[in-house]
Amino acid sequence: MDPLLLIGAITVGGVLIGGGVHFIPVGGAPAAIATATGVGTGTAMLAAGSGMTGLITAAAATGSPLWLVLLAGAAGAALMIGITMLVGNWVYVWGVGTVPVSAKVTKDPITGLEQEKFVTPGTEGHGIPTVCFVSGIIGGLLGGIGGGLIYYYIYNGLVTLPAYALLPGQTISVSAAMMAGIFALAVFFVNAVIASYNIGGTIEGFHDPKFKRLPRGVLGCIVASIVIGIVGILLLQGGVV
């Protein structure tokens, strides 16, 4: 495989992942005690959950055309973040007893419902309101596509090498799939954490004022992903003795 194609795929995938994180309602520690909007954990945990699910579903489509791998990755990651947000909302609504509400906007941009008077004084909202949920699904789709893209190109690059080649009777090369999977996961984590640094740990979604920092985060992800892509070339050029 052309090394530049691999670097390009890793860079585009990294940008999709880093950009996707900006859409996900990461609430952090304040959300864990229902005093801020979003899922009550950090970006690294959400990246681990939805990123790994996306890569597993993308890997399940190994050997399929590119669009199917991307679709599988996007579906897996979006489904996982969706389930996380839904179950989180159950806990916020029926466990904590708060209304899912955003403190960053006065009216929900999607449903048009009033937000302001439902925010408990002294807090920055609770739970995952509609706009955050939709934003989170978009983020999951973007991240899943990015992870799937990286997985697809590394797998197809590796499988041409003798050490990773298909054995008779095999339809997928397990060692190439594992190597591509762990590499894509690593790119996922690096870009998720860079995006997390950019948003200062918490964000509500595309309606949050912090979302304007997206270009800066994307620039950071481009630089980091290009360097990781160059390092990744060694996997293909070096090989196995």
Binding site: S175, M178, L185, L234, G238, V240, V241
Partner: protein, 269 residues
Amino acid sequence: MSVAAGGGGTSSIDPKQTLALGLIGGLVGIYLVPFVPILGPLFGALGAVCAIIWGADAIARVASYGLGTGVPSIGYMSLAIGVVGSLAGIAGAVMFGSSSVLIGPIFGVVLAMIVGAVVALVGTKVLKMKIPILVRCTVELSGAAAISVIGFSAAIAGSIGMSAILTTVVATGFIGLLFILNTMAIQHPFNACLGPQEDRSRTLKLAASTAFMAMAIVGILGIGVSKVWWVIAIIGAIAWFISISAFIQSSAENAASVKWSGLWPEEEM
């Protein structure tokens, strides 16, 4: 997500000591694997333990500034960089000729440190993070992560060559386990001990216990591959017991008092 303290506090441990322990101890351990017959993998695992203690000290220094994203995030990121660097380094060493397997680990550690430096520079220059030691500590963390991954991989595979690691660590999926296992071992000690009364020597006792716990698990992963898996597992378990006892003892000594409060009264239940 945890909110760390205002940062820059004095540490009771000199960072140079942990750096020397991790870098020299880790690399010596890894390089003993191909040269010491039979017991080689044990030294690889011990090298990884040294690297984890180094990484736990580095994460304690950088995360005491308050990253805004919690302690685990930088741990996951550095292990991601460590995995990328170590696998690319071990595979890429072959480019210098088929007899150059031995430069693989050092090449991997250097690659990880370079990627770590780039990511940290992105943090300070592009994202304008105001943590003065971010670059230095991310480079140290990435190096520690790479050494810990290579050390444990060599302990399972019994070799530092790519073909053995590929079949016994990567293709079996253990690399994913090592990713999370080493992240936990490196980030947990400071995440558990942070606060105004954080004492670095106590934090590093916990780091030793998490590292040896990981080593015991790595020993079990070597069943069927390594002949000395049981030695690694038993030494890891014994050392875990010693280090966790030391940690609990120093926690009890540093506490104002330790009392069992009892359960809440019956009528309030």
